[in-house]
């Protein structure tokens, strides 16, 4: 499938690859290329950034491979308690959420 071919091609280029190069390498027209890219982006498999190449506006495509939680994400944890807002689907008022209150007190406890 063209999606797989495109994803493999982007993955091979750690510094990203121009959209125009992808189109030429895979020998597809620009319409098909854009639509395939949109599909891959929708599935969070690639991302693109605008770039000016040879005086023309194009995009550079990057593969989005899983790198693990970053330093920021470690702050979801407080004294072994995980942030209750993360993954919660209840429409709540954070100021009155008992679980969030407990989490905030876990942070205070952790720091003192």
């Amino acid at each position: 499938m063209i999606e797989d071919e495109m994803f493999d091609l982007v993955r091979q280029h750690k510094d990203g690859i121009l959209q125009s190069s992808v189109r030429k390498t895979l020998e597809i027209d620009s319409k098909k290329c854009s639509r395939t890219i949109a599909k891959l982006m929708k599935n969070h498999l690639i991302r693109r950034e605008p770039e000016l190449a040879n005086g023309r506006n194009t995009f550079r495509l990057y593969c989005m491979e899983f790198t693990g939680p970053s330093d920021k994400h470690k702050y979801f944890l407080a004294g072994g308690v995980f942030s209750p807002c993360t993954g919660c689907s209840i429409e709540c008022y954070p100021e009155n959420c008992r679980l969030l209150d407990e989490w905030v007190w876990a942070i205070i406890k952790e720091e003192n």
């Binding site: 599935n43 899983f66 693990g68 970053s70 979801f76 942030s83 993360t86 993954g87 100021e95």
Partner: protein, 164 residues
């Protein structure tokens, strides 16, 4: 490769799909499988498997393909797990948590708090002023609580989440 032993990922998945859901994720067979096959392999009830897969689908962590049986016309859903989008989900959740903490900080900033000696709860000024500064639950006296430590903790955590 996604390390499901990571405490952050464990916490996220636990909040999303629960313990049974984690069992589904860790034991899910490779490739495309039906929900019934997943249920058999993981030994988790079919309704729990379906619920888990739909939650994962909503969060772009699982995908399905529909196949129609030509004879019966029945549709079969073939599921595939793809946790590579979990970083995006973590980033989305990070934004949500920061927003909630900022709301909470504004609430702490704009209110005075009172607590009951019997640990009945924490009440805002408007509530206890109507009960003559007696606990609305047990009727005992309430005492003023300085919330500076809470505010400082919220500011610090917001900063850490925004820019560690």
């Amino acid at each position: 490769m996604v390390d499901l032993e990571d405490s952050v990922l464990q916490g996220l998945l636990l909040n999303l799909v629960g313990e049974e859901g984690i069992k589904v994720i860790t034991n899910m067979p490779e490739g495309e499988v039906t929900d019934e096959e997943v249920s058999q392999v993981t030994d988790v009830a079919l309704n729990v498997v379906r619920r888990t897969l739909y939650i994962l689908f909503e969060n772009r962590l699982a995908f399905y393909r529909r196949e129609r049986n030509k004879d019966s016309g029945w549709l079969t859903y073939l599921w595939k797990l793809d946790l590579s989008g979990i970083n995006n989900l973590l980033d989305d959740q990070l934004i949500k948590l920061i927003k909630n903490l900022k709301t909470k900080l504004a609430f702490e900033d704009n209110n005075m708090f009172y607590i009951c000696n019997n640990n009945c709860g924490r009440f805002v000024f408007d509530v206890v002023s109507e009960t003559e500064f007696l606990c609305p639950i047990c009727g005992d006296d309430v005492i003023f609580q300085d919330n500076e430590v809470v505010k400082q903790c919220l500011i610090k955590r917001i900063n850490e989440l925004e820019d560690p």
